[in-house]
Amino acid sequence: MKEEFKIIANSIQRDKSILDVGCGDGELMKFIYENISKKIRGLELSKDNVQKCIQKGLTVIEGNAEMDLQQFPSNSFDYVILSQTLQAFLNPEKVISDLLRIGKTSIVTIPNFGFWKVRFSLLFKGTMPVTKTLPNQWYNTPNLHMCSIKDFVNFCNKRKINLFKSLALTNNKVSSINKFNLNFKNLTSELGIFLLEK
């Protein structure tokens, strides 16, 4: 399993309720279901992935987070997970506010556009970056709103969202992000993992 998923799973307390938004083929959900909490449900856009989840015995709703999150009641889950999907939404701001409304804690991960390889590509090659966490070309990427770790931290600060845990992931190594190392982590991290509260 991906290191990112291990970190997310480790952030979740036993037997709590979880909604995995954009749960993909259910790999993370299955791990959580088998090891941490049976009270987990998913929301997924792709029919193929929904069917893969059903095959794994997981409860999944086919739907679009931007349209379908509003139907979930406030504070109905202990955790809401959004793994590397935020940048693909038309309106990430609205999705974040839905996550905070539905979940007591939201776990959001983002591919970091401030990572040095990304900057390098644009600065020296002059082309849109293609990396491990951003594998698509500019013309076929689902990503609409790329941001860096620093962008996301600023976003949360400006909206007074309580960012109570911020982690950086590079080459499967985890480290903490704080206000003193933010600029450095923004340069050296592939992925940001954030735990948010209202």
């Binding site: 929904v50 069917q51 709703i61 979930f72």
Partner: protein, 373 residues
Amino acid sequence: MNNIENIKKIIIKKPLKLDCGVTISNYPLAYETYGELNQNKDNAIMVFHALTGDQFATGKNPITNKDGWWSYVIGPNKALDTNKYFIISANVIGGCMGSYGPSSIDEISGKKIGINFPVITINDMVNAQFNLLEHFNIDKLFCVTGGSMGGMQVLQFVANFPDKSKIAIPIACSASHSAQNIAFNELGRQAIMADENWKDGNYELENKLPAKGLSVARMAAHITYLSKKGLQEKFGRKLQERDKIKFGFDADFQIESYLRYQGSIFVDRFDANSYLYITRAMDYFDLSKNFNGDLSKVFKNTKTRFFIISFTSDWLYPTAENREIVIALNAINADVGFLEVKSDKGHDSFLLDVPDFLNSLKNFVDNSYNKRP
């Protein structure tokens, strides 16, 4: 053709007060079962049929000699695996395959009840079929499922008996019959009633059959079960056993001939008055009506695990209407899954060989069964 009197049925002694106010008792309910009930009695699945279905869900229907309506779904190793599950399927009241309906004989007059049959609802159908649990001494079903009107019965079953089924799978249905669907049903009923042989519903007494009307009703309804794309691909503008159009009103096109055939075989197996009564029951279906339109309240405190399935090309019970059920269940944090299956086969998809549908249904049912405590 086998005698309809030889099919399995129970006589329900317990009085049932229908929504229309009439109380019925000592009425027959025809049923069929597939597979074996296990010792724990935790493997029973009740399937509910659609408008023109009956209790013969799979295998050969002994009356019509056709395959059962859910032959793709029910059988050994199929989605509803008869090696594992005990499947109960009943003919709804109002139907014409042995259950109490307009073609039943009135005990006092000795004649067919016909149009004197009370108007029934989906709620009445479900309450009548619930008696089968007692008959088989089953405390709790493992699953209730069905498509179209069968799906409505699934929703009604969970609403009436929140703790009597572990899982529920309503397919291609709605919690509230739409104006468009009422309109199509009304078209069918008017076709039947416009047939001079309908005789105000007393055709049986005069040895007549409103075959033309019933067949037109079926033709109109049949179009609503298919999709535009499916029709175009299957028939297009192909001509029926001729090289060119004949400048007349014969069935020049294959689609015309197909619809005429569908209409003509339907009248051999279905009672016109049953068609009136059952379509009416569907029209009256509006599950949230008694809860100020709040569908969530219908399912309040439900512990049932739901899986709702719709089909992309179904315009009779479109995804949006199925999704309303999902939204209502989500709003009360119920355990609900949802899949919209891609298919060009229209509303009829739930009856046909649509692998994504059959596989997902099987996966959900089997996984849920393995998860039981």
